[in-house]
Amino acid sequence: MKIGIITFPGSNCDDDVYDSLMRSGGFELTKLWHKDTPELSDYKLIVLPGGFSYGDYLRCGAMAARSPIMEKVIEFAKRGGLVIGICNGFQILCESGLLPGALARNLSLNFICKDIKVTVETSKTPWTQTIEARSTLNLPIAHGEGRYIISEEDYQELIKNGQVVLTYQDNPNGSTHQIAGLCNKEKNVFGLMPHPERASDLRSKDGLKIWQSLKSFLGQQS
């Protein structure tokens, strides 16, 4: 299962995702460079890792969303390819229009790093198909701009389509309807603020559950 992990200038969780997927096992990992425009069709999954792409100058994720490789990623996603954006990667997905809504400064105005609990809202996605709905995951967050905002009208649309994947149990950043992670209508693009790659073997192993679900989904496909 070939997986591409993109490094933008300022990405700092690319190695962590690599390490976590390696520990999980069963994936063939390649690091991709933001200035390149490789053919992505033989990849099973593209990861947009966390960090501070382009220093988060302008707006978080805004510049990365317009980097050369993102044209390829958008094409890949539109053809149904699996794309996950974690933290800064989630911001890039929103900025590039692959996911609705936007991420704003935390309500406290401070950066927040801690272990938190999220509820898995649905099992009907490639990302959570082996995780029981309404179950709890212990995952760390680490962000200054993780407050997910969306209009009430668009939120109703998310609910109708079962797009809300993770919600915070104790909303740390003031996100609309406690949203911690969501996918597009087609379920192949997933963005989340918590870091599953930091919960693969230390303190919590709940991040692995997302990788396991992916593995099971990709196994069914091939």
Binding site: P9, G10, N12, S20, Y57, N110, F111, A142, L202
Partner: protein
Amino acid sequence: MAVFKVFLGTAVMSTQITDVSPSNQNLAQRLGISLTEYQHICQNLERVPNYAELSIFSAMFSEHCSYKSSKKFLKRFPTTGKRVLQGPGENAGVLDIGSGWAIAFKMESHNHPSFIEPYQGAATGMGGILRDVFTMGARPAASMNSLCFGTMDFDRTQSIVKGVVKGIGDYGNCVGVPTLAGQTLFHSCYNRNPLVNAFTLGIVKANQIFRGFAEGIGNAVIYVGAKTGRDGVHGATMASKEFSTDKELERPTVQVGDPFTEKLLLEATLEAMKEQLVIGIQDMGAAGLTSSSFEMAHRAKTGLEIDLDKIPARESGMAAFELLLSESQERMLLVTTPEKVAPLKEIFKKWDLHAEVIGKVVSGNRVKMTKQRQVVVDLPVELVTEPLLANRASSPPVDLKQRWFLDRNRMLVATLQSKFQSLIEELNFANCEPLITQYDSMVGNRTVGGSQDDAGVIRVREMGEKEVRLALKTDCNPRVTWLWPREGGRRAVSECAINLAVRGAEPIGITDCLNFGSPENPEVIWQFEESIEGISEACQALKIPVVSGNVSFYNDTDGKPVYPTPMIGMVGIIEDKLPLPHSNFYSTQLELALIGPVEGGLGGSLMASSWFKRECGQPEETDLALLDRMLKFLQRLRKKKITYAAHDISDGGLLCSVLEMAFHSPYDCTGVDLHIPSGCDLDRFLFGETIPRIIVAYDSVERGDIENLASQAGVVFTHLGQTNDSSIFAVKQGGAQVLSSKLPDLKSAWNQKWKKFFK
């Protein structure tokens, strides 16, 4: 040649000077060079230095760069050991951790800039220490910081705390290095001179360590990183002066950091090193291009020729002295062979960074610099890098004996409840969570144990199957050091060692950051000398080498020095795969025991300070032989493979330690019953701070084993009580209850204290 005005503190000189204008005594003095030093320069040079050259001397002869007052004392540190691959004198110290891997680490201060501009001051402090580590070839893997702030009644404290914490967070978080642990304390002596000490540790292959050598005649000297601007000019000189109340006018000497550029520089540098394109490298830190070029030539015993016109400048018309002294951030100086220049530039281009050849290594011992084909600097390396050492007078404070008087009677008549209350209200007994959650403590996927424990713990994931874990801690007790500097030095080392040991680690090396007042004050030199003796004694007793460090003098405001604060950063190793001990009450059915002396000294304790509103009493001397036995006891306890919690006793004594263990319990209903052993002095038992004393908590079936281990190791075991699910903290003496308080209330007070800083 550009003509410019010269900023000297607040005055702008009316006469216009150029780089090549001849200097004179007055000018030298205004740049902080003494008459003796100026004469020494002229004699050796056999001429008068020009203004650009004088600026070089000004920076390099500053206390900050030259260590001219501290050098002779620093020689007393033990610096060797079987793990030491690089001792003091390089960008960072390096220790062998086995299987072909090593760690590079160092601690540095950024005190003065952090008072003038807290956010940028702290941020650039982080930037500097990160570069010190990755110039050695090491990937930064963990940071810590030690922060000493003024008290809440000083009007700027809140904004300084806020700015410093945000500055450290924004920089470290962006570069992607976890900030694990550290120490934060408040005291009025830091009102106008906060201390911001940053520590970083990196991982490096033992055979791929890089050093600051300008080696190989004919090799290229390359400037990499951000462009040079006018920020930070004369920064090192600023850091070597006392603060006056109009210090805020010196804002232009503080640099501005860009963590994004730092991240790119980190990746590009490590990539260039991996491709073997680097021969020597040094960070452009304090005194920028001046210190990096002269120091690299000095180490390699070579000369340099540098064309200042080649330096990527942020603005046009910069004078030579500005290019030389700029402390613009995120820049490095690199030396490599001519044929490696092209592939090296390619890597930096990939990361969107500048890399320009600005000169070459030459034989001889002179550094020559030209600007617009005119020689503006021509100096022998040694004259710049080996300044005259300052012979400073030393004398103990006249009122030392008065400081050591502690009025026990006044304490004895007070009720236990009132003393307890004064500790609970103490600003220094507080939950640091509102502060540390602003730091990314987990990036890197290495963090095993967090910031709330006695020490931070990371794993060295580079090592694969042979992965070891490292425990890190910084510590200093300024109250004790002010009362008795020698004991303060001993205690800073001892505290770190015991903190690492309760987490299961074996101490392997230290770095230091010695924050003191003006060296021109004999009392400060006495404090400095005594602290160093204390640190050395403890290092020798525990066989822990000092591998890197930093001295920060002139931490005074209006002639009053801060408390002597010799901050120690210590690293410990955990080579087995056993689970780490707990540091909290992980169950509501535990038995508690005290290991170590039943009573502790009140001299210099937090209790004494909070009760008398000043530091008083003679601190009890740390028994280093006992400490060594305690460390061995903790190692053996761990090997027993039983489940237990351990926490050391320091600020606030046994009482505060037990409360901390309860506050960190996962159960809201946790309660504690504490029994005072018969015949002991209540104050000394509960509030005393002698080292080493620790609390262990375990299932009662393990008691016999632990008691046996203690007796074998030669440390005293005293039964203390147990945890329960009553959510009450109760202290009992001979069956009678002497203190009782609701733990949730105490915890909420402890939680709230620092929240107000971040509103």
